[in-house]
């Protein structure tokens, strides 16, 4: 195992008592609890971690957080593998395995790095200009492109881990637990507000973690611990670490992904906050100079963080290159860590002497008015070329000197993390003084604080955070006092010098590559090319050059890229604007967004009260809406067809029994029940006598059939309606909407009884005998209890509603029973029915039986474009009243000749079962497009009739009975069919009226 050559002897927030082993690209390494994968790799002196996307250039770790574009690695293997993990955000654990995603045959010798030699051919948008000829080769070109693209590898097995969702509410959500966030949280918490403080790091403190800066007279770490301890004392404060706030949605709804550990991998916090304080800090930006992507070129702040948090010094001989004050601390940190700092190169001609002196005091030469123009070395930094510079961007850099080094720490200034502010709809503005985008007005209840608000000094961040916390708490109505600010050292600032593209020895189009987007290999020359070709809007440039489309989403290079665009256009940066910031702030797993709602919890399975009986009887189930309904009940050796044949015949000959509990059931009562239903239904509702049932169609206002069912009059002012299984919720909501929005003067109350009542249908010539055998309290005879009527009765000692309705064409009873007793009643019926060979049947047999009678199923025989007239039900349409949808039926298209109408179809050969959905045509063999005159809506083998039957919608079908047309059966085969009336079985209705 390699030695941790870059690990410092002391310091850092790692736990040296807990060493960890990990493996990278097949080699074993060691690290410590508290390391990230990136810090551990750097500790072991690993420089080269990956190859770039397009040019396959060698790449090393550049950052230390979400901005990292290069160290994108594959973790683990098998079901637990994780693609595209950012090494800077992966906590090291024992046994971790990681590998680079690119580089063949090896990372050091990547054959595809030949692309780099031809880099100019692979300029922005090159693929739009080629791969077009010959046309048929595109498939091969594309296959090659696809193979070359992509980063990580998706797992090949389902996820073994769990995810959960958690809703939360708070008064003040503070995003980021750096100095500003801690002060904001403290101020809000002390006021009594409910506070959530979320931070992406494993411990709070932000940039202060590991810092030796004194705050309030004590080391920063102690100050952080004291604040966090106090926060944790409050009942109504929640501190979330390892938690990335990735989405700021409407109405202060904020989503946070929290890394958990154990088999609960991640948790999604769905937070509704009354006020939000955004204190996520700022991202350091790189500078664009030649070969600025060499492994060993790093952000200055990242270098500092590795030293302080992880006790890792990423180089021995360093050069620091900056255009602002902040990197001076990096130089000091490097010196403190024992590295030799060859030079601090500062583009600014003059800098406050206090700062310069401090650095020079530890022996670091400071070169003011200088720039780094180029980097030597290929697989890692070997040295830098430094030139004097007078501030003129158009100048050519010459008279340069070389400085040997293995690390170049760069700071091009800072970009406040305005992402969430922008996601929330807030404006962002270019700050001409600080040369960065800062949050402008908010659109939601949020405010920014700290370096995310463009405050650079620690004192300013603490104050800004406190003020934001106080203001947020006060906005929520809390009487917030201002906590005292800890005393910190204040320093003079020398303003940053705006510098983006560093002048090189040759012009920007021909000098060595100056990278902007490291992951997508977008260079300064690409932006300039895009502009030359007319892609000038920032969105066009972004899309044409892929700037910002990497998995760091432009956090590293976007602003620099836009500044280069501005320079190329000769326009101020402010006028170029920025692209839209969209969620997520950092990539977030599908699993955590989905939460628990996968697998068996994906969607509720609704079950009837009799469901378990069906399961134990071996039923095959069908999804109908959210319900599981028995489809058929196969016996040993039976398939669908043979089971259904048996179930149909048993029902026609003796008794079948069906669980019809999924029907929608609505109780309608009130003074105006009749008036209301008259407006809803096409038929005359008021004419029905109490105790009678009627078939009812429900139309949409467009006149099309929307649902159907049976309505029963229970009293003067009370009705009971059934709806289709799938339509139950929709119909109830539809009825309520008419009552509440359109006819509030009607006094009618609707109550869903779908779950309260279970419905058991017994059908067949022996059904009356069965009920009689069970001791029914009423006379079931045809005379006393005629077809289409309803009675209250006691059956087997249970109060039930009996309906003489039939969806099978047989003598049948539908029994409504309290669901609490449904299973018991079902079992009682099964026991008592044994002598009649009572046969349970499912939806398939139900479909066959009703099709034999020509009863339609809404949604199968209709499709939203079918009127009652098309179904041959015009007799149900009352002439002398208005009802919903009536006016639409008078529109020209609804009264034209040739509309599709419901008919029956018989196969000419008496054998062929047509395919449901088959299109109908006049003659086979016509040229495309073949005119279609309708389609088969339902089709079954009728064992009762001894031949197949089908229902269909056919243009002008009712006047074509007896004519022959053709059904298309898929792969070119055609069946000849005859149009017949849609009732195949017992057209005189003698059986159901029995």
């Amino acid at each position: 195992m390699a030695r941790q050559t870059n690990r410092l002897g002391s310091g850092g927030r790692i736990d040296r008592s807990r060493p960890l082993r990990f493996r990278f690209n097949g080699r074993d390494y060691g690290g410590y609890e508290g390391d990230t994968l990136a810090s551990a790799l750097l500790a072991n002196g690993v420089r080269l971690v990956n190859r770039s996307f397009k040019l396959h250039r060698p790449r090393g770790i550049i950052g230390c957080g979400a901005e990292e574009p290069n160290a994108i690695l594959q973790l683990g293997s098998g079901a637990g593998t994780l693609p595209n993990q950012r090494a800077t955000q992966v906590s090291l654990y024992d046994g971790l395995e990681a590998r680079s995603t690119r580089g063949w045959p090896s990372l050091r010798f990547d054959a595809s790095s030949v692309n780099d030699l031809f880099g100019r051919v692979f300029s922005a948008g090159f693929y739009y200009k080629t791969f077009m000829f010959p046309q048929r080769w595109w498939d091969y070109y594309e296959a090659f492109i696809r193979r070359s693209a992509g980063l990580g590898v998706a797992p090949d097995r389902p996820d073994p881990d769990r995810y959960e969702h958690r809703n939360a509410h708070c008064d003040v959500l503070v995003v980021g637990a750096g100095p500003a966030g801690l002060m904001a949280a403290l101020a809000a918490a002390r006021s009594g507000a409910r506070v959530i403080l979320a931070d992406q790091q494993r411990e709070p403190g932000g940039s202060l973690v590991g810092s030796d800066l004194p705050i309030g007279g004590r080391p920063a770490d102690e100050w952080i611990a004291a604040v966090v301890d106090e926060l944790r004392e409050f009942d109504d404060v929640r501190v979330l670490t390892h938690s990335i706030v990735f989405g700021y949605h409407d109405h202060n709804f904020v989503t946070i992904a929290q890394e958990c550990g154990g088999d609960m991998r991640e948790r999604l916090w769905r937070v509704r906050a009354r006020q939000v304080v955004l204190a996520q800090g700022a991202f350091e930006r790189p500078l664009a100079f030649c070969n600025n992507d060499r492994p060993g070129v790093m952000l200055a702040s990242a270098v500092s963080a590795y030293i302080k948090r992880y006790a890792v010094c990423p180089g021995r001989r360093a050069v620091v290159f900056t255009n602002n004050d902040s990197a001076y601390q990096c130089a000091l940190d490097l010196a403190h860590a024992g590295a030799t700092v060859g030079a601090l190169v500062d583009s600014r001609g003059s800098v406050s002497s206090e700062l310069t002196d401090r650095v020079e005091a530890v022996g670091i030469p400071v070169l003011h008015g200088h720039i780094v123009t180029d980097v030597r070395g290929r697989l890692s930094v070997g040295g830098v070329r430094v030139a004097r510079w007078n501030g003129d961007t158009d100048a050519r850099a010459d008279n340069s000197i070389d400085i040997r080094c293995d690390l170049l720490a760069v700071s091009g200034g800072w970009n406040p993390a305005v992402h969430l502010h922008s996601q929330a709809g807030g404006a962002i503005a270019w700050d001409e003084r600080r040369h960065c985008f800062v949050p402008a007005e908010s659109r939601q209840a949020n405010r920014s604080a700290g370096s995310g608000n463009g405050r650079w000094s620690l004192a300013d961040c603490l104050r800004d955070g406190r003020d934001a916390g106080v203001a947020a708490a006060r906005s929520c109505g809390f009487d917030a006092a201002e906590p005292e600010l800890p005393v910190v050292e204040e320093r003079d600032e020398t303003p940053l010098q705006p510098l983006w593209r560093v002048p090189a020895a040759r012009d920007p189009d021909s000098c060595p590559k100056q990278f902007l987007d490291f992951q997508n290999d977008t260079c300064v020359a690409d932006v300039r090319l895009a502009v030359r070709e007319g892609y000038r809007n920032v969105e066009h440039v972004k899309r044409y050059t892929a700037l910002g489309f990497g998995t760091d989403q432009g956090k590293l290079g976007n602003i620099t890229g836009m500044a280069v665009l501005a320079e190329t256009l000769g326009a101020p940066v402010a006028s170029v604007g920025t692209t839209t910031f969209r969620p997520p702030f950092t990539p977030v797993s599908f699993g955590v967004c989905a939460g628990e709602g996968v697998g068996e919890l994906y969607d509720p399975v609704r079950k009837t009260a009799i469901h378990e009986w069906h399961v134990s009887a071996g039923a095959a189930f069908e999804n109908v809406g959210q319900w599981h309904r028995p489809w058929y009940f196969p016996r040993a050796g039976e398939d669908l067809n043979s089971a259904v044949a048996r179930e149909c015949l048993a029902t026609r000959r003796s008794i079948g029994i069906l669980d019809a509990s999924t029907l929608g059931k609505i109780d309608v009562q009130g003074r105006d029940a009749v008036a209301f239903l008259e407006r809803i239904y096409p038929h005359k509702v008021g004419r029905m006598a109490v105790g009678r049932c009627a078939y009812g169609l429900m139309l949409g206002e467009d006149g099309m059939v929307m649902d159907d069912g049976v309505m029963t009059r229970l009293g003067d002012r009370r009705y009971y309606l059934t709806t289709t299984t799938g339509g139950a919720a929709r119909v109830l909501a539809w009825l309520e909407s008419w009552l509440q929005t359109e006819w509030p003067d009607l006094e009618v109350y609707l109550t869903s009884l779908t779950d309260q009542l279970s419905t058991i249908s017994v059908a067949g010539p022996n059904s009356r005998r069965l009920l009689e055998k069970l001791g029914c309290s009423i006379d079931l005879s045809r005379e006393q209890f005629p077809f289409m009527s309803m009675r209250q009765a006691d059956l087997a000692g249970l109060p039930v509603q009996l309906f003489r309705v039939s969806f099978s064409g047989e003598l049948a009873f539908e029994i409504n029973v309290d669901s609490a007793h449904a299973l018991a009643l079902w079992q009682t019926l099964m026991d008592a029915g044994r002598e009649f060979e009572i046969t349970p049947y499912g939806t398939e047999t139900m479909h066959v039986l009703r099709a034999e009678k020509g009863f339609v199923i809404v949604g199968q025989d209709t499709d939203g474009s079918v009127t009652p007239i098309d179904l041959g039900l015009e007799r149900m349409l009352a002439k002398d009243k208005d009802f919903l949808g009536k006016r639409s039926l008078a529109r020209p298209d609804c009264v034209r000749e040739g509309r599709k109408q419901l008919v029956g179809l018989l196969s000419a050969d008496g054998r062929t079962v047509l395919r449901e959905g088959a299109q109908l045509i006049e003659e086979p063999g016509a040229a495309h497009p073949v005119p279609m005159i309708g389609h088969v809506t339902s089709s079954y083998m009728s064992d009762c009739l001894g031949h197949p039957i089908a229902l269909a919608l056919v243009a002008g079908g009712r006047s074509r009975h007896g004519e022959t047309i053709h059904a298309s059966l898929g792969a070119g085969s055609i069946a000849t069919v005859t149009i017949v009336p849609p009732v195949f079985y017992d057209p005189q209705n003698e059986r159901q009226h029995d």
Partner: protein, 191 residues
Amino acid sequence: MTDLSQRRHGLETLVGAHGDREQLSATVTLEIRAAVRQLNLRGDPGKAGLRTAAEEALGQALPVQPNATTAGPHTICWLGPDEWLVLSATPDAANVATALEQALSKHGAAVNDVSGGQVLLHLAGSGVRDLLAKGCTLDFHPRAFAPGACAQSGLAKANVLIRLDEDGEAFDVVVRRSFADYLLRWLRHAA
């Protein structure tokens, strides 16, 4: 013939192997309260006499404030401006429906016994709030959800009525029967 008197609620398959009282987690217990009668009542509270008649029949007033319940012989939950749910565990609960229906019939109100169509889950223990928060967007903080309050919402993917008891200790969750199996699976998974 099956002895129907033994079948009170038909929820045996839901309770399954877990018994009437189930420890969902270290901090949450679940009880299925099948014996509680549930009556749905709809009517216009602005109508003279309706509230008085209901109060006489039930022995307590109907709550007219949204999301409120009233306690007394029964627990009455506000469901909407013209809708209530009466939860009754009194010995004569079976007669309450009849009494209520008779008392209210002349006021144009609708009374439906929905005991067979809804399942009442009683969740107790220190972890209930956290458990509910996993699947429900309501705010269960004591400041926002007071003892005796009720609210209808979604829990996971089922519609529910949630009520906090008068002591602020335990929650009742009422769910439609056909969703109960799903909701129990979700609760067991989430706990």
